[in-house]
């Protein structure tokens, strides 16, 4: 299978593999990330975080610390600059950004002070020496699906909290086969390799911030609002970002405190989070407790579908990890219900993390589907084929395209699925039991209005200006390819400028919508520029610039179910005598729109699948109930997959250009993780005969299942 190029023109840059435009800078160490841009007179801020989970700051003993070598300032709630009360950020009300404004401590690891010093060594020691007195209150960090504080929110970022149609109990009672199981996923953390960093300084009345943000305009707007500044007087740059995964879009302690500190001391100030602080200051994926009830006829056709998910939020604000949203466009049934609930606790506020909702939701639902296939005696792929919806199960809208079964068919052929013996626990290779599993993936395909400017320079080159961000996706290169094709010139003649709030309004890097949203705006400008150049206009020294705004075109899009799809396959080996699980190979086949750059797109798919592997086997933040702190809040304690855990992973795609997008793009940043953990869990069942419904599938859990007197699944 190859990528689609039919909707684009000329040079064939779109669809051709191209190494990253910033690749040379990255492999030679020349690419500078936010914490690496030098400034004269730079001072260093070190954040002090709370050591109690709930209470109030009674006092901060800053007097002795201010006398320590090199210390310039100690900011705390008693002296910090005031921020806008009731702050509403780019994604809604955001009290998490209101830092050092009051004495309340909502969770452990909450920022209670910033020490600023001449060197980072001095700042760290002063922060360590700073004594903060607390009035402590009893806390509650114990998450459970049945928690008494649980409630059903009005909605989440993924849509309504609850959708319902039909009579669930009646359909369940009428079903020949019923699956009714509970699944859990633990607290997971983004852990981008680059810690969040910001340098702030005042420059001729303008606030300049060099930040690790996934969206400079959102950050600039939020900082302007927080500090009551004219938005035009805030300038945020982020040329290279060391991964974000959803954690680097919002105003958070590093950039808010850097701005506060530079305002107070009148020098440039850099604040960099420590790895440990990243476990409490930037958000994370909530744990989930999910119940899935599926009722089907003997032929596997669904009559009842119920997916009920519970997640936690902080006492500061509501964030819903909408795990049950995954099935809303995937499977239909006479009775169909999806619901999300939340439990507010004395914990840090969760946030968007790669495939929010879909990642944990697909684990539960795609595991349950495997269980239904087993009970029906059907091949899991056949079960999905029998449950393809004709229209959106919840919306009734037509699908723009739905190539899920094409993905399964292509994947099954390449993985060797058809020769699979469905019986569990019968394949042995030395000390290993071997099995295979599959699962479906989907992710919404969206676009957000953006602006761009494309200039035909007098020297025959072109400059694309758009406030995109490249968190490692390859956005810079992809946009260059799109522009090259649109203009009918080689990529070498295109210059791409991104990551600067002065470039104007554009969507940020998130929601698998970046490349599509930006490319749309670029294509509008490029089309007009090409027409103007076709008229034979002379190019003046300042060049010819065309500006674009995609708002109107995107607003005119017909309402449809628009999604990417994928089929995940995994082969695992399990040693039930030690509990070790090794993934031997994975294959993902995706239908995800036009693939602009196969080289970097493959990296994104494979990276997402690697996240799925990591989620299935490794990742878990463990909260100590007595203190409210994490017991493993560093990279030696919080395991994500190391190189040795990751086998051959192949990703490929089928033709699936979005018919309503000027380039055919859908978005690929998140779908790779969706369903991957379920495919692995299903393979573990196939290997051992034991269902693992709680992630991660740790050695102690595998051992526990193997030594349980009755065998079978864990409760």
């Amino acid at each position: 299978m190859t990528t689609a190029t039919g909707t684009t023109r000329a040079t064939g840059a779109v669809g051709a593999a191209h190494t990253r435009l910033e690749g040379l800078a990255k492999v030679t160490g020349q690419a500078r990330y936010a914490g690496e841009v030098p400034f004269a007179e730079l001072a260093h801020g070190w954040i002090v975080v709370s050591t109690v989970a709930r209470g109030r700051v009674r006092s901060v003993d800053d007097a002795s610390v201010l006398k320590m070598p090199g210390v310039l300032s100690v900011l705390h709630h008693g002296n910090a600059p005031r921020l806008q009360e009731g702050f509403v950020g780019s994604f809604g009300p955001d009290p998490v950004a209101e830092i050092l404004q009051r004495d309340r401590v909502p969770h452990i690891g909450w920022p209670v002070a910033l020490v600023v010093a001449e060197t980072s060594e001095q700042a760290r020691e002063a922060a360590e020496a700073l004594v903060v007195h607390y009035d402590t209150e009893a806390h509650d960090v114990g998450f459970s699906a049945e928690h008494s504080a649980r409630y059903t929110p009005e909605a989440s970022a993924m849509g309504p909290a609850v959708t319902e149609k039909g009579d669930l109990e009646t359909q369940l009672a009428a079903s020949d086969v019923v699956v009714d199981e509970r699944y859990t996923t633990p607290e997971q953390h983004h852990n981008a390799m680059e810690p969040h960093a910001a340098m702030a300084r005042w420059d001729n009345g303008r606030l300049e911030v060099v930040d690790s943000t996934q969206g400079t305009l959102a950050t600039a707007t939020d900082l302007a609002n927080l500090f009551s500044l004219d938005p035009a007087s805030v300038h945020v740059r982020s040329e290279h970002i060391g991964g974000g995964f959803g954690s680097k879009a919002l105003a958070r302690a590093h950039n808010v405190l850097a701005v506060m500190a530079t305002t107070v001391i009148g020098r440039p100030v850099r604040v960099v989070l420590t790895r440990r602080q990243m476990f409490s200051l930037i958000g994370y994926r909530s744990p989930t407790a999910q119940r899935v009830r599926l009722g089907a006829g003997a032929d596997g056709r669904l009559r009842a579908f119920d997916h009920d998910g519970v997640s936690l939020t902080s006492t500061l604000t509501e964030f819903v990890e909408a795990s049950s949203a995954f099935g809303r466009a995937m499977y239909d049934a006479e009775a169909h219900r999806t619901a999300n609930h939340v439990v507010p606790l004395d914990v840090p506020t969760p946030t968007f993390m790669r495939a929010p909702g879909e990642a944990p939701g697909s684990f539960a639902l795609e595991s349950a589907f495997d269980e239904l296939a087993e009970k029906c005696g059907l091949d899991p792929i056949e079960l999905r084929a029998r449950n393809e919806p004709a229209v959106g199960p919840v919306t009734g809208l037509p699908f723009a395209s739905n190539e899920l079964l094409t993905c399964f068919r292509e994947g099954a052929r390449r993985f060797g699925w058809d020769s699979r013996d469905p019986r569990p626990g019968v394949r042995r290779d030395g000390r290993w039991l071997v099995g295979t599993g599959t699962a479906a993936a989907t992710f919404p395909a969206g676009a957000a209005p953006s602006t761009s400017a494309v200039t035909a320079e007098a020297d025959g080159t072109f400059t694309v200006r758009i406030n995109a961000a490249d968190v490692g996706t390859g956005a810079r290169t992809a946009l260059g390819q799109v522009a090259a094709d649109g203009l009918g010139v080689p990529l070498e003649r295109i210059r791409v400028r991104i990551g600067d709030s002065d470039l104007g309004q554009a969507w940020l890097s998130g929601g698998s919508m970046g490349t599509r949203s930006w490319a749309w705006a670029v294509m509008i400008a490029v089309d007009e520029l090409r027409e103007r150049l076709a008229l034979g206009a002379d190019i003046p020294p300042e060049g010819i610039t065309v500006r674009s705004d995609s708002a109107e075109a995107i607003g005119a899009l017909a309402e449809k179910e628009r999604h990417s799809y994928g089929a995940q396959f995994a082969e695992v080996a399990v040693d039930t005598s030690t509990g070790e699980v090794r993934v031997r190979r994975m294959l993902g086949i995706f239908a995800a729109g036009t693939i602009v750059n196969p080289l970097t797109a493959r990296s994104q798919f494979v990276g997402g699948m690697t996240w799925g592997l990591s989620m299935a086997l490794h990742e878990e933040a463990i909260r100590d109930h007595a203190s409210g702190a994490l017991a493993n809040g560093d990279l030696a304690g919080y395991h994500f997959a190391a190189n040795a855990d990751v086998p051959v992973i192949e990703a490929d795609w089928v033709d699936d250009p979005d018919p309503d997008d000027p380039v055919g793009i859908k978005g690929i940043g998140e779908i790779g993780i969706v369903g991957a953990a379920a495919a692995i869990a299903n393979a573990v069942w196939h290997a051992t005969g034991v269902r693992h419904r709680d992630l991660p599938i740790r050695p102690d859990r595998v051992l526990g299942a193997a030594t349980a007197p009755t065998g079978g699944s864990r409760a």
Binding site: S577, T578, G637, A642, P699, L703, G704
Partner: protein, 330 residues
Amino acid sequence: MREFGYERAYDVSGAVALLGADPEARYLGGGTNLVDLMKTGVERPALLVDVTQLPLDGIEVTADGGLRVGATVTNSDLAAHPEVRLRYPALAQAVLAGASGQLRNMATVGGNLLQRTRCGYFTDRARPCNKRTPGSGCAALEGEHHNHAILGASAHCVATHPSDMAVALAAFDAVVTYETGDGPGELALADFYLPVGDTPHRETALPPGALITHITLPPAPVAAHSRYRKVRERASYAFAIGSVAAALDVRDGVVREVRLAYGAVASRPWRAHAAERALTGGPATAAAFAAAADAELAAAEPLSDNGYKVPLVRNLTVTLLTELTEEAAR
């Protein structure tokens, strides 16, 4: 991290003199554990005495056919040394499994023995920990302890020792030689680590200010037939949740000599004497291996969440001894 002095020592007596009896001074080897603990504030030395330039970086075969390993030999050089790989392959395997290549290049043999536990409560200064702050309590007992000790722990501390290397050394009866201001001394590895009791903060029997100079491995022909197997929660770059070093001399189906030591189950590498006694002179069968492990693990006192370590170590024992038996038959 507070400000501290730094001195580089060039000979052993100079190093010992520089450290003196200063309780706020520390020897600096590879720094892979100490510098991290200084960053988190668990260690706050006033003076570091850098011992990496001492002439203690040699590995030599002793007259009786054992090995003498200098304390500043890096983990990398230990694991790569042909005599180690030939005579004590489980030791090489343990070191190779112990840390990443970068860490092994830095970490010294002496420092490896003196590593501190990776218990999350020990490294978080805001939490109770009797090992870090005597008398403050043990948060792990009722808290997160799925990777804590099942053997030899106490109500005061259930932390494990993180070293893989030390597990193999325990199996091979290593002897630790040290220098003090009052002259040299030595400790069998079996006596090197103190029982936990009510003093978990006292970890070794080294006198104050002592500098480890060598580790001596007595000759042990059985060690040439040895293996180390480590189980962890990812395939590499993680501490053990259970490990076994095993050496076996089997002839005609009878165990003539066996060495067994367990890692990640106690505050120190756990030499499995009871299992060794049960096996010696008996049949080399899976049933006998399992019974021997059971004999050793009868003393296990698991907490609520770490009971899995009992079957894990038991199964590892059977697997390794079975593999060694099969190897001997080839």
